[in-house]
Each structure stands twice: as structure tokens, then as C-alpha cells.
Symmetry: C2
Subunit: 378 residues, 2 copies
């Protein structure tokens, strides 16, 4: 068993924890904690390159509590800090005897914006290591929350999984603006084995230029109706047929955007509109989504093979429960591993780090951690 989680259970009662039915469409679902009654003296924030994720606990109407999840764009960090400040004040207003407020912070922004956080919030800011938080958060979701972890296929888009008796070792492939791949061999035993700069930031950046979409959700919506073969070069475009000898199907993508250069040179255009009369935003969106997702899937598979890991979890705000993204990642893992390795997803995929930071809270004057943890195990 994971000591970190045992430690947690001293503070937060997880008995009966479960995901709440969707209330506000598009909003990340809350997690009900029907048996947790006490006021909670901390909140957590994970500030990444593009998004800042906030996790906090509130009382519900039935006397229990709820885990809440919300996010801000990092470029609007002021807005995020204002929200944290609001949560701090709310706690202070209703505080009876409990300890002072504490903000757990992780992600690169916990360092970059540390001074700003401290001066504007006026409470203790505890910084925790990003990778460690990702793992603690993931272990929590895997072991404690029912209907959280699932595999994806077109026939069965969300097949929920029971936690395995032994969850280690596994690979966590976390996709935010960039990609981190972390090998986890036990509780708090992990190693960053690789990464890629081709991640969410790349997809969002390229799509924002080439499709003129205003939000990431708009881009994802576009990709659904696109036809990538209008821009991608397939094996069939080069061979006129399958490449039999190498078992490459005619429909395999040989070159992402492989048709663009040739088309471009035969047409002239100066405005985005001219350009889009030649290439539909939908087709562009689908091609890019395939390319980035497939590339991440391939690298994740290769890393998993080198490190002999059967189980691959995909986390990070890149995924957003988008079917085409999960399909491509799942397909890549299945294809490259010959079906021996599996891709797993999470409903709260974007909040692993924030939840991990939340769970790492130890009240002040709570004794040396090591001791507390051993006690927690009893």
C-alpha cells in the first residue's frame, strides 16, 4: 500500500468517495466525500506552462464534502490568484478553531510565481515537486476513486477498470504544453525517463494559426468532421497501392502534411481566407491531432518497451476526454505493441498534479514526516 495515501486518510475521510453525476456540462466533475465532515485548511494549485489547475474541498448540502476542480489560463495568473485569495478569505471567515490556511503549490509556476502568490495571498505557500505530485495524484485516482480509470475503444468508449492488486510498475505519460514520461516502480519511487516538446502547446499553437479557432475546444470540435487525407500523404498516394512487402496499408499515413507543400506552390494566397480556401480548417485540425497524438503514443510505447512496463497511463490537460485523441493514443499503443500493452485514461486527467499537491499537505507541528507516516500505516 501507498504510504502517502495512508497518511492522507488521517485527514480526509475517503470512505464512499465517488464521482458526482455531471451537473454543469464541460465542467470537470466533482468528487463526493460523503463521510468527510471537518473543515479543510488547505487548497492546491498546479501552475503549468499553459494552464493553472486548482483543487479545493467544500461542504456539500448533505453534511459531507466535495473535491472541486477548476482551471485558469496561466497567462491570466492574476485571475487565478484572485480566486485563490477568495478561497483563503472564505476559509478565514468561517474558521473556528482550526489551523491557518495553507496553499500547496506545484508545477513550474509554483516557482515562477512564488513571490506573487506569497505577497498577494498572505498565507503559507508550500511548494512540492511536480513529478512527485503527478504520481501521488495518479496513485490516489487509481486506488481510491471508483469509475475514474478507463480504457478507450470505439466500441466501448469508457471501459472502467478495477484497481489491480499490484499497480506498479507503470508508465505515466503526462501531456500538457509539453510531454513528460515517468516510470513509477513503487510509491514515491519514480524516474523521469523521457519527454517530448511536441505536445499540447504545439497542437494549440499550430491550430490557432492554421484554423483560426479561438479556443482549444473549438479546435477539437473542428477535427471531428475533418478529412486528414486531403493534407496528409498516404502510403497509397506514393505507391498507388499497399506496400505489400513491408505490410504497410495504402491508408497508412506516410507523411503528415505531405500534400501541403505541393499544393501550396501551385496556388498563391496572402490572406488566411485564401489559404483556407485551399485547405479546410477541419482537415488541418484532424491531421494535426492525429500527428501529435500518434507521435506521443509511439514514443510512450518505445519507452514502455525499453523499461518493460505493460501499463501506460495518459494524463494531462491535452486529452480533455476527447474521443479522437484517446482513440489515437490507444491505437498507437495497441498497434506498436502488437496488443501487449494498454493505454489507460482518467476522468480527472488534468488534475493529477494539483490533487497530488493537495494530498501532500501535512499540518504544521505534525511531527517529522517519516514518523507520521509509519504511524499512518498502523
Amino acid at each position: 500500500m501507498d504510504t502517502a495515501l495512508k497518511t492522507l486518510s488521517v485527514h480526509i475521510n475517503l470512505q464512499g468517495a465517488k464521482i458526482v453525476a455531471e451537473t454543469t456540462p464541460g465542467k470537470t466533475r466533482e468528487i463526493a466525500l460523503p463521510n468527510h465532515k471537518e473543515q479543510v485548511s488547505h487548497i492546491a494549485v498546479d501552475v503549468g506552462g499553459s494552464l493553472a489547475k486548482v483543487v479545493y474541498i467544500t461542504k456539500d448540502n448533505e453534511g459531507g464534502s466535495r473535491f472541486n476542480f477548476t482551471r485558469f489560463e496561466t497567462k491570466n495568473i492574476d485571475e487565478c490568484i484572485s480566486f485563490l485569495s477568495f478561497l483563503c478569505q472564505e476559509y478565514e471567515n468561517s474558521r473556528q478553531e482550526g489551523p491557518a490556511m495553507c496553499v500547496m503549490a506545484t508545477g513550474g509556476g509554483a516557482f515562477k510565481y512564488y513571490d506573487q502568490l506569497r505577497s498577494r495571498l498572505g498565507v503559507e505557500i508550500v511548494r512540492e515537486d511536480e513529478m512527485e505530485c503527478l504520481i501521488v495524484g495518479l496513485d490516489f485516482f487509481i486506488t481510491e476513486i471508483p469509475d475514474e480509470v478507463f480504457t478507450y475503444s470505439e466500441n466501448e468508449p469508457m471501459k472502467f477498470c478495477e484497481p489491480l492488486p499490484n499497480i506498479y510498475p507503470y508508465l505515466l505519460c503526462n501531456i500538457g504544453s509539453g510531454v513528460s514520461m515517468i516510470k513509477v516502480s513503487g510509491p514515491e519511487k519514480f524516474e523521469r525517463i523521457g519527454g517530448s516538446s511536441l505536445g499540447g502547446g504545439t497542437l494549440w499553437g499550430l491550430m490557432s494559426i492554421l484554423t483560426n479557432a479561438k479556443t482549444f475546444d473549438e479546435m477539437l470540435e473542428m477535427s471531428k468532421s475533418g478529412d486528414n487525407t486531403a493534407v496528409d500523404m498516404l502510403v497509397g498516394d506514393i505507391y498507388g497501392t499497399n506496400y505489400e512487402k513491408m505490410c504497410l496499408k495504402s491508408t497508412t499515413i506516410a507523411s503528415t502534411f505531405g500534400k501541403v507543400f505541393q499544393k501550396k506552390l501551385t496556388k498563391k494566397y496572402d490572406t488566411i481566407q485564401d489559404f483556407q480556401s485551399c485547405f479546410s480548417p477541419q482537415d488541418i485540425a484532424k491531421s494535426l491531432l492525429y500527428a501529435i497524438s500518434n507521435n506521443i503514443g509511439q514514443i510512450a510505447y518505445l519507452q514502455a518497451r525499453i523499461h518493460e512496463l505493460e501499463t501506460i497511463y495518459f494524463g494531462g490537460t491535452y486529452i480533455r476526454g476527447h474521443p479522437l485523441t484517446m482513440h489515437t493514443l490507444s491505437y498507437a499503443i495497441r498497434f506498436w505493441s502488437g496488443g501487449t500493452k494498454k493505454a489507460y485514461f482518467l476522468r480527472h486527467e488534468g488534475y493529477l498534479g494539483a490533487v497530488g499537491a493537495f494530498l501532500k499537505h501535512q499540518p504544521r507541528n505534525w511531527g517529522r514526516r517519516k514518523t507520521s507516516r509509519v504511524n499512518g500505516m498502523l
Copy 2:
């Protein structure tokens, strides 16, 4: 020794073969064959997704011969076939007693354009497998041509290598419109172990849209003076510093194009000019060149590690002797392998397949191949 090359030596005298000093800038250098006197009855073409490469032998002024290399865009396949037709007619006009002309063809286009080639050229077209040709061509360059194979570093851009006593096994990473990775364990013993759709076609396509460059060389030129940190998100942009615990430097690229989405949403533009006032074409070009090259280098390294291959050759028309490309590929291999694996380049990197097809020529009525090859070994 490679039997295929031994076989070849029956027909083409390679004694004293060497690369000719540059005559026309930008043109691929010829290879002098001072001791080959006979007329050669075949030419070879490798038709890929974007480019068609042609290899043929001509007489030189000193009584010897020369290997010639030239290429066409595949979309102008008619122009390429006209050139082949010209070479066929020239041979026919000067033919004394020799055999009839034969065109060796490989690459996807050898299948896609087979009927066109046959009807317009009116000579025998022999199709050869693309991967096989790449390997035969590479083995030829490695073993027979001095000052062909080199490693790249900024201090020593072209460090030429003597052929190793045992050249196998190795990984060939061939980058054209798409990428193929081939594990070679002996002469004619090879396996396609992977590939990527993020290759030359992707870079050319994206650059042609985003930089408005008209040719690939123009794009490469642009990339030299660019500053990718204007568009890429670095570890330092997220952390404000190094990510010490994970040994990630502040200058490491965390997310390719990671700054674009944010900037884009704060500015409005409808024309390419507006867009380019926000992002310089040079910066875009450098970022994309880094991203694609680094990604290929990383996947090549991972494949090499899985298959226990120390030596990685990079071939294909993507490279074009461009310093920044070779630097990035070399750096990726060195970085990921901790210096245990090396990237090798070739002066005729784009002509492996065409030369391989050329070398696979066996005159008609020349007996069963197996027998001939055994004879060639004696």
C-alpha cells in the same frame, strides 16, 4: 563482404572511385570512376512521395566514367520521364554492340508510375524493392566511396570515417517525406522496425504555409538566423529557472510552439502579413526544424536502444547537408544515448535508393542470380 557489391564489381569497375571536387554549387557531386571504360546499359530512378532521384553513368574526358546524380519534384514526373527518355535515346544513338537499355526503378513511384514509365520510355523497366535498394545503396557508399560517410559536430562539421571492419548491424533512418527506420544485420538481411509520419513533408508543408518561402532551400536558409525561443516555450519560461530536481536546464525546449497560442489570442490578424508581424518567419523556421529533427533523432535512438544498435545512419533528401539539421540529429542521438551511440551522415544521403537500384542491375541472360553471386565471390 557484401555479395551484392561483389556482384556489382563484375560490371562496374570501382577501383579508384572518388568524389569529384564541387563544380556546380548546390548540385550533388559526381563520383569519378577512373577505371571504368565500358558503356553502361542501365540507369536508375527512385520515385518518392516528393522527389524523384536519378542516377546514371557517363563517360568523362579522361577515358573513365562518372556517376551522376540529379532529381525532380515528383509532381513534375513528366519532366523526370522526359529526362530518362533523353538518357535512353542518347544510349541508343551511341550503342555499338552492347545490350538494350534498361531502367531500374524503385520507390513508391516505381509502382504508381510503372505504366507511364513503360509506355513513354519503351524500354525494360525493372522494379526493385525500396528498402532493399536503400540498404544496397548505403552499403555501397559505406564500403566503396572514400570521404562519403561522416559524423557532424559544430567544431568538426565533416569528420570522415574509414569503413569499420564489420559494418553490421546498424540502423538506417531514412528521412524523405516520411521516415523509415530499418535494422540491418547483414547484406540483404534487414527489417523495417518503425517509422514516423513527421518527416520532410511535414516540415516543408508547415514552413511553406507559415513562412511563405517558395523553395525548401529558402526555408533552410531562413532557419539559420531565427530565434526559436520567440515561439517555443522553454523550461525557464515555465519555472523561471532550471528544473533542478529533474536536471532539466532552463534552456531546454519544453513545448514547441508553446508561446504561439497565447500570443495569437491577444492579437487579431487575417493576412499572412499580419501573422508574420507577430511571428518572424525565421523564428518559425528554426523552431520547426529543431522540432522535427529532434523528434526523429529521439525515435531513432529509442529504436536503436531496443534493437541494440550502436551505429545510426541518417539518409534521405530531408537532410541536404544542412548544418542545423545534422547538428540537431547528432545532438539528439548523443543526448539520449549518453554518448554511447553515434549519428552518421552521407554526402549522397538522398541517393541511397537510386544507387541501390542501379547496383541491382543484372544483365539479361546472365544466369541465375544465386550462381552469379557465388561466382562473384571467388
